[in-house]
């Protein structure tokens, strides 16, 4: 009696933690003016594929429906929400602030071979400004903080830093693709080899190799400013600087690092991108960024930004940091038993009603059972 590979039954102890975390996070989202939205668990593949790169398209779990349509389980939430924003909420005044908590599905999560996992996230739809970027990053920090996590960083970067450099180097398109792929695959051994055999200026080679390691506070920006000279990358740097300064106003700079080595898996990003790291996880706990062209694939040109937190990952990080961080203070729990006696039963019903009214948890049984719950004597 098994379930498909990569899926899990969550037992009550785990569910308690999950729900506690969900409530901590949704509370913050709500306080910041974000409203919850629920979209279907599976949709037409064609729609979801608009937001997925070729890698993610392979990872989607698909099937045929009765009419012969290809259906896919959502591999992430942003595409579905972009669809709703452009087709059902396009007339509403902007910006829209939306949040979600829901399960997403992929054949290979890379880590732990899970196929179903839970994401909580927000989308700030209809504004293209550094203030919007900063708000979403600040909200990511606040959400992690309020989940109970103490030690973490949000790294911010920009998709066009890399794009600008790739555009500006003068090398044939095939080589460019090879370089890009090596960087995306984080294969520096191959990257060095390709660069060695490529006809690229030495300082550009050096910068391409160095870029993934540039991470820190403002001094990183100063360092990079000296090296790059293409327009796309320069304006990207300016945007990072702007957002960083706003985050300083939020008082969150201790959590923020500028990181030119960020690579995100999704193809839809167009601007600022960011990821959250803790010492306790070998992969990011959250990630997001600006996606100004996704909505236009559904007919409306609406610039947007957002992020998602992986709840299973966050639970792992929280418990590694402090095993008690998801212990919930529950009301006292009692067992009432009436010894299979009708008079006792009536009495027990009244007592139980009163105790529950006081907020206690009461179970009613005919006979005494042992399950580690306090006995309430009649």
């Amino acid at each position: 009696m098994n379930i498909p590979k990569g899926l899990n039954d969550l037992l009550p102890g785990e569910v308690l933690k999950r729900r506690l975390l969900e409530s901590r996070i949704s509370k913050i989202f709500t306080q910041w003016g974000y409203q919850e939205i629920i979209t279907p668990t599976f949709e037409f593949y064609e729609i979801l594929a608009k937001g997925a790169g070729s890698m993610m398209q392979k990872e989607m779990i698909k099937f045929f429906d009765r009419e012969g349509n290809i259906i896919a389980f959502r591999p992430e939430m942003t595409t579905s929400i972009a669809r709703v924003a452009s087709t059902k909420m396009q007339l509403e005044p902007k910006p829209s602030r939306l949040y979600y908590i829901g399960n997403v599905f992929r054949y290979d999560d890379k880590v732990g071979n899970q196929r179903e996992f839970c994401q909580a996230g927000v989308e700030l739809i209809g504004v293209n400004s550094k203030e919007a970027d900063a708000e979403v990053i600040a909200l990511a920090v606040e959400s992690l903080k309020n989940s109970g996590l103490r030690k973490f960083f949000i790294d911010i970067g920009h998709i066009n830093l890399f794009n600008g450099i790739m555009q500006s180097i003068k090398v044939e398109e095939k080589r460019k693709q090879e370089i890009k792929e090596a960087i995306l695959n984080k294969n520096f051994v191959l990257l060095e080899k390709i660069l060695y055999f490529s006809d690229i200026k030495d300082d550009e080679k050096e910068f391409i190799l160095k870029m993934p390691t540039l991470r820190g506070k403002e001094e990183v920006l100063e360092e990079v400013e000296k090296i790059i000279n293409n327009e796309l990358s320069i304006s990207a740097l300016k945007e990072i600087k702007g957002v960083y300064n706003l985050l300083r106003n939020y008082g969150l700079e201790e959590y923020i690092l500028i990181d030119l080595g960020i690579i995100r898996d999704f193809d839809y990003y167009t601007g600022i991108i960011f990821e959250g790291y803790t010492d306790y996880l070998g992969f990011p706990v959250c990630g997001g960024g600006r996606y100004d062209n996704l909505c236009s694939k559904f007919g409306e040109n609406i610039p947007s930004t957002g992020f998602a937190i992986g709840l299973e990952k966050l639970i792992t990080a929280l418990e590694k940091e402090d095993i008690h961080s998801l212990n919930l203070e529950r009301p006292e729990q009692y067992l009432l038993y009436y010894q299979n006696n009708e008079d006792n039963f009536k009495k027990a019903l009244v007592v139980a009603k009163n105790l529950r009214k006081k907020g206690l948890i009461v179970e009613l049984e005919a006979e005494k059972v042992c399950r580690g719950v306090k006995i309430y004597s009649l």
Partner: protein
Amino acid sequence: MNRENDTDYLVIALPSGKLFKPSIQLFESIGINLKGGKGISRKLTFFDQREKIKFIITRPKDNPTYVECGAADIGIVGEDVLLEEKKDIYRLLDLKFGKCKMVVAALEGGKQEKYYKNNGHRLKVATKYPHIAGEYFNKKGIYVELTKLYGSVELAPQVGLADMIVDIVSTGRTLEENKLTIIDEIIPLSAQLIVNRISYKTKHKRVIDLSQDIKKFISLESDKIAEW
């Protein structure tokens, strides 16, 4: 060691098997004392308190999994493992030892032309590396049926389980002893230094210092290392 200071340590995953000894030698040569690896292969973990390094020993194929999940910050792994199974890790250095080749081999007396002709039926290939083999034959446009084996692949052609094998060879002696000849070389391979994607950021200085030390050593001694 408790969890609290786990994050102070740099965790390095060493592969058991052929790459174990050269890996130990490599770290000793850059000044990290592993006592020649004595007594640690059974224990599976080993600490260098002074340098704050924790060594763990993994099965070669599991090595990148430990690194990908962050159970180890750094790993040493044969390129064959990385080619067969894609992992989300940084590949930092070619360590230049554990050199070998991924090859196609068949029973002696044949030519590539002979083996790569389907003659109306699909060719049978036995291998530990179905992904690499599949990609190779796909690119060549040759229709094959792959059989995944877990070891002693050389046996397969002799008992009629396969027409050819795809496997790694270092000296070629095993092939010879089993009357097999190389009909094509797919790719040269060597040991690689890999790093977890978060450790690469959060423990950046330590990771880079270590890899610089190793790099310096490799370029000085590359001839000698090749013999290890």
